[in-house]
């Protein structure tokens, strides 16, 4: 038994954590991509690929299939900008907070060069008219932490090295915004415009002159003039600026201090977050919180086209270089690719938002992770494929995109044991007094393979719902749902078949309302077999029998309220584990109704694995999170890991594995049946992964790589043989003398290696190629010279080793003989293995060759 003496307990902890470091086979890894809407995405010249910054890497998506083609990894901090290289459209720059600019070949996914700048870079800008110079935004050099930024021109050195240091920095404009949308190059790179706060600066490169324009903070009508984004017309001297109050101003004649003019266009009701001119300059696209893409005609601003209901607030707009494809990135971690007036593809990442109101939950049927994503929706995210499966509209109301509007939020989700029923709670708090609550029950529909609304209970409680859980016992006949609320009651809801007919299915009805001394219930939990219900009423835990609704017993742990409760599983089902507000972890034995043990730790999250006895605990300690796995019946923790991540972990879930791991090691056994996923404070989805698992993953990916390198053609067989032979040689007889490669195969190799576009025409090559394969007359005479040896070697064809020795014997005299012949004959002689290969080659199917001329 664990005593609650702090000293002894902590000793155990230290010891075990040391163990873990020693093993090092369980690591915390990222799961589920980071944000893809952080910065403006880039569409490549051929409109086939889309590049976007995502966490510490750059992702390359296909615009037609929505698949991620490459993950450009290399940066060590947040990537803050991606840009095509103006001089070579097949390469892209990316900049990051780690102070480097990297050049990538995004078609192949290769890092070409790294330029070390030395300062954190917040955005990057280039122009085709400024060769060799890139413009980056860094924080003002003197103070790294300051909130003021400056635009700096950097000459990237042209050297062959992988890693070069760029030191030629020159400041262009001081005091700019870190938002990349607020800086733009003007017509033919003549000027650069930057907006920050309430002033717009235009810097002309030729005259080396800056013009500044100021706006008043507020005008009389209540408009707010703060600049949000800037766009420059590609053919005309015109700058468009978007403002906080939704106005768009078109600035002209700005190369004069006084005579500048601007015209105002107003459609957006909230801030314009992104704007872009089409490459021809005929249209201006703008977007904002309204989630409507507005297309303004440049020549006739009164004409507008709209693309409404794009899902959520538009954060960035990008246009392909040919102007055919638009893409909009949205605040819900989504990129829409729009062709014409239709959304042709959607890249949707895991939506985590600022808060996850619903906990992380695993859908028992699809084994996908469920959490609230888009406003009013639930997202089902497949953990295996790392992809969003679908969004389920819970609120089923038109979403009004407007600042300051209180919307319905999905706050609680629960699934029953087999995933046939799902319960959701949505709430909307308009003001302090009014709270709108809806409890909805969803039934799984086999035909459509999704959830269908079954029952809506409006205002199930008078106040916020603090906890909700389904009875998880698979054997029970009835489906029971418990909801606990701040109004001091908990209610039991039961599925009942309606009285009069079979035409309507079962629906949800209230079965029992429970309360305890007017206290507020804060958490509820069913035991694994569904025979007990524990409800935490502040500092008192009440245990009820769902069959008769009798209060069986109360357990209390004053003076602080109970925060989390969970029953032990399987062999530990007699234990009830709870955490309190005063950093206490308590374990009660339900058979004796007494406290078994308790220990002091600042626990932020407690959850039990439904498949094993294990209970996982995240505790917050000195700004970082420690992690423990224990069994309620044993004093030693099964596993512990210090400093898993920084910040508090408040959401985690055990997801059952597809196939069981067979780890016998004590420390990783707890991961055999299920995997633990958790959300860090910065909303990154992480998981614990074992070494064996990673190895498996690596192996499968490597295999894939070999498979698709060369197609299965006769050439592949020829090549493959050679490679295999070489490698086998190197391994088996490293000391043995390497046979000189015959000239003929060298020619073939050359032919195969050279890129197709530099080769001469096929007619020229063909004769050469055939000649190289031909058995020359010279060889025949040689063969007659050494008939015996030839015979010998053919006999021992099977034996590789002997054959090689034989070769070396044969080749030496032949080289001598060939010395004279070489002058006359271009065709090189063939060695025996070559000839053997040739024979093999003859036997092969050549039908593919016949097909070539036709294609």
């Amino acid at each position: 038994m664990i005593t609650n003496k702090k000293g002894r307990r902590s000793e155990v902890k230290v010891e075990s954590s040391k163990n873990m470091v020693g093993h090092g086979d369980i690591r915390v890894v990222h799961r589920g991509g980071s944000k893809i809407n952080f910065r403006q995405p880039v569409i490549t010249n051929d409109s086939r690929l889309l590049l976007c910054a995502s966490g510490e890497c750059v992702k390359v998506f296909s615009t037609s299939t929505e698949e991620c083609v490459h993950n450009l990894r290399g940066h060590t901090d947040l990537v803050t900008g991606v840009l095509l290289k103006p001089s070579n459209q097949l390469q892209a720059y990316s900049c990051s907070l780690d102070g480097t600019v990297r050049l990538w070949d995004f078609m192949e996914g290769i890092l070409i060069k790294t330029y070390d700048i030395g300062y954190s870079i917040y955005s990057i800008h280039t122009s085709a008219f400024h060769k060799g110079v890139t413009f980056i935004v860094t924080s003002t050099l003197s103070d790294k932490r300051s909130e003021s930024f400056q635009l700096v021109a950097v000459r990237l050195p042209q050297s062959g090295d992988q890693l070069t240091k760029a030191q030629e920095l020159s400041a262009v404009i001081g005091d700019v915004s870190s938002n990349p949308a607020a800086i733009v190059f003007g017509r033919e790179g003549e000027y650069i415009a930057s907006a920050n706060g309430l002033h717009l600066e235009v810097f002309f490169f030729k005259k080396q002159k800056t013009f500044s324009f100021f706006l008043k903070k507020d005008n009389k009508k209540g408009g707010r003039n703060t600049f949000m984004c800037v766009a420059a017309h590609p053919k005309d001297d015109c700058i468009a600026t978007g403002h906080e109050d939704g106005k768009i101003r078109l600035w002209r004649n700005f190369n004069h201090k006084k005579e500048y003019t601007y015209s105002t266009m107003h459609w957006h009701s909230n801030a314009v977050s992104s704007m872009s001119f089409t490459p021809e300059g005929t249209n201006l696209l703008s977007g904002g919180v309204e989630s409507v893409l507005v297309l303004w005609r440049y020549n006739d601003v009164s004409q507008r086209d709209f693309l409404p209901r794009l899902g959520s607030a538009i954060t960035h707009i990008a246009i392909s270089p040919d102007g055919a494809l638009f893409c909009t990135s949205h605040s819900d971690n989504k990129i829409n690719i729009i062709q014409g007036i239709k959304v042709s593809a959607v890249l949707q990442g895991l939506v985590t938002g600022e808060r996850v109101e619903t906990d992380l939950i695993v859908d028992p049927r699809s084994k996908s992770l469920v959490l609230n994503g888009r406003p009013g929706h639930l997202q089902f995210y497949s953990l295996d494929r790392d992809k969003l499966v679908y969004n389920l509209d819970i609120v089923q109301q038109e979403y009004i995109h407007q600042w300051g509007l209180q919307q319905f939020k999905v706050v609680k989700v629960a699934f029953d044991a087999c995933g046939n029923w799902m319960a959701t709670v949505e709430e909307r708090k308009q003001n302090v007094a009014e709270l709108e609550l809806n409890l909805k029950l969803w039934a799984f529909d086999e035909q459509t393979q999704s959830f269908v609304l079954n029952t809506t209970v409006s205002a199930p409680h008078e106040s916020r719902i603090t906890g909700m859980c389904f009875c998880q016992a698979t054997a029970s006949q009835t489906t029971m749902l418990i909801s606990a609320s701040e109004d001091g009651h908990f209610k039991a809801w039961q599925l009942t078949r309606s009285a009069q007919g079979e035409d309507e299915g079962p629906s949800l009805t209230c079965d029992f309302v429970g309360a305890y001394r007017g206290l507020v219930p804060e958490c509820c939990c069913f035991s694994a077999d569904g025979s007990l219900l524990a409800v935490g009423f502040q500092e008192v835990v009440t245990v009820w029998s769902p069959a008769s609704w009798d209060l069986l017993t109360t357990l209390s742990q004053p003076p602080k309220a109970i925060r989390n409760l969970c029953f032990g599983q399987l062999s530990c089902s007699k234990y009830l584990v709870g955490t309190t507000d005063d950093h206490l972890l308590c374990c009660w034995n339900l058979l004796t109704c007494s406290l078994e043990w308790s220990t002091s730790m600042d626990i932020s999250l407690l959850l039990s694995d439904p498949l094993t006895e294990n209970i996982a605990v995240f505790c917050c300690h000195a700004g970082s999170t420690d992690f423990f796995v224990f069994k309620p019946s044993e004093p030693r923790p099964v596993f512990s890991l210090k400093a898993v991540c920084s910040g508090k972990v408040t959401h985690a879930v055990f997801a059952p594995r597809e196939e069981m791991l067979e780890s016998s090691e004590e420390s990783s056994q707890w991961l055999n049946y299920s995997q633990l996923y958790f959300l860090t404070q910065c909303m990154d989805l992480m998981t614990f992964s074992t070494k064996a698992e990673e190895d498996k993953l690596m192996a499968s990916s490597r295999q894939l790589m070999i498979d698709d390198s060369v197609a299965m053609t006769p050439f592949y067989l020829l090549l493959g043989k050679h490679r295999k032979g070489e490698s086998g040689d190197a391994v088996s007889s490293a000391s043995a003398e390497r046979p000189p490669l015959p000239q003929g195969s060298e020619a073939i190799k050359e032919l195969l290696r050279t890129p197709a576009h530099v080769l001469p025409s096929t007619s020229v090559l063909c004769s050469m190629f055939v000649k190289s394969l031909l058995v020359s007359v010279g060889d025949a005479s040689e063969e007659s010279n050494h008939p015996k040896e030839e015979m010998e070697s053919e006999k021992e064809e099977e034996d590789e080793e002997e054959d090689r020795e034989m070769q070396s014997k044969v080749s030496r005299p032949r080289r001598g003989a060939l010395d004279g012949l070489c002058a006359e004959r271009a065709a090189p002689a063939l060695t025996k293995p070559q000839r053997r290969e040739l024979r093999q080659f003859m036997k092969l199917d050549h039908s593919w060759l016949a097909g070539l001329p036709h294609s």
Partner: protein, 527 residues
Amino acid sequence: MASYKPTQIQVYPKPGEEATQDTLYWKNYEQIQIKEFGAVSSIDFSPVAPHNFAVTAFTRIHIYGPYSLEPLKSLTGFKNTAYCARFRSDGQLLVAGCEDSVVRLFDVSGKVALRVFKGHTKAVHVTDFTSNRYQIFTGSDDYTCRLWDLPNATELNSYREHTDYIRCGVTSKLNRDLFITGSYDHTLKLFDARADKSVMTMDHGQPVESLLLYPSEGLLVSAGGRHVKVWDLLKGGQPLVSLKNHHKTVTCLCLSSNGQRLLSASLDRHVKVYNTTNFKAVHNFDYDASILSLALAPDDESIVVGMTNNILSIKHRKRPDESEAVPSQPRRRPSYRMPVKGKNYAPKQEDYLVSRPVKEYLAQYDKQLKKFNVSKALDSALEIWRRKRSPEVMVAVMKELDRRGTLKNALAGRDEQGLGSLLHFLLGNVVDPRFAPVLVTAAEMILDVYKQVVGQSPLVDRQLLRLQELLEKELGYQKDLIEVLGMLDTIFASSLPKTEVPCPGSSRANGLTPGVMGTSRPQPHAT
């Protein structure tokens, strides 16, 4: 790009009873009313085919046909109030008592009484034929009941056992000698004509107003006071059930023709329908006045009710074929002048069907909401309410506008007429508990917006005053209800038995000392 999601019209639970099979059955009647000359004291259906019925009211007996509004025949000649007209089982003869103690026998086709039975000394309230068709049985206010011979109009027997008025009685349909009487002395007595005394006596507890024998004649139902009681005759008059569903005296009983339902009518203006298997009330009819008499036509074709306000209410069963007769003609499809190619093409099994995209039609208010025309959306919802009188749409649109934060804008800027119709809507629905949360905020907003213009329009002012009145009344109701609730709470709290919940924490500081509790309590095995 998602499409516009239309406003959800919330389905509210309907106040009142649930629609069961019974309510559907008993609601399917249409009512006609006929004015009689006095309170309708008795109604009897003829047992033979056209099922005419005799209505006894004041000094007349009217015989109505099944669908006639005018009486087919009127039997007069009573010197005083007539009582209890009854048909013989062949429907040819009819007997009736009278306030002047004379019992008269009529031929249904004739006008003048065929026989007159004199012998009672006080008003005769009960008359009936016995099952052999040649005798009648009467009960009178002189505490006697008598048997009479029809052919020669002589008194066969007289029983004087009751000690108060005899006001109801029933003869057995299976045995010609048995009849049962109910009296104001609270007793029911079963008489056998072959014996000189009553063979069975049951105590109802209240003055008995009505009696009913089951078709099997094993069960007897009696009504008196607020109670309806069922007696088992085969077990010697053992009481089976006592029903107390009325809050005034039950005056009349009736069985539905298949014997599955029992109907009881009362002075509290209700007719209640009971299931005869579990004796639960399954339906309820409301009438305008206290009910004195009730009868059901064979096969429940009509329900006839007589009331104290001289009104005879006849409810006829609605015929299902009547409603379907009108649209029997097939609707003509619009004919196409140009032949549509492939109109008659039937897809084969292997064909891949490409369905035409279904165009979604939005309601008018949704169209306006989609365009953010808030005032117009509210107007079109108001229009729907004006046409259909269903406030759900209006409430849903108001809720949606409130969610969008534009309800105030939608309510503002209306002229006298517009504001008038809005207030009219509010007056009708603001106190409905289903809509109150939404409508109260709307009413507050209206008062906020229009408080400057109060006093400019007499129409609006009148409506505002009515609104104020309505709300004050509602507040009074709520106060009363809360008082009642408080009273009920105290009653419930005192009546509930106190259960002791085992709480280890209450006896000690907390459960930290294990073992003590473990020994005191039997340990169940771990699951």
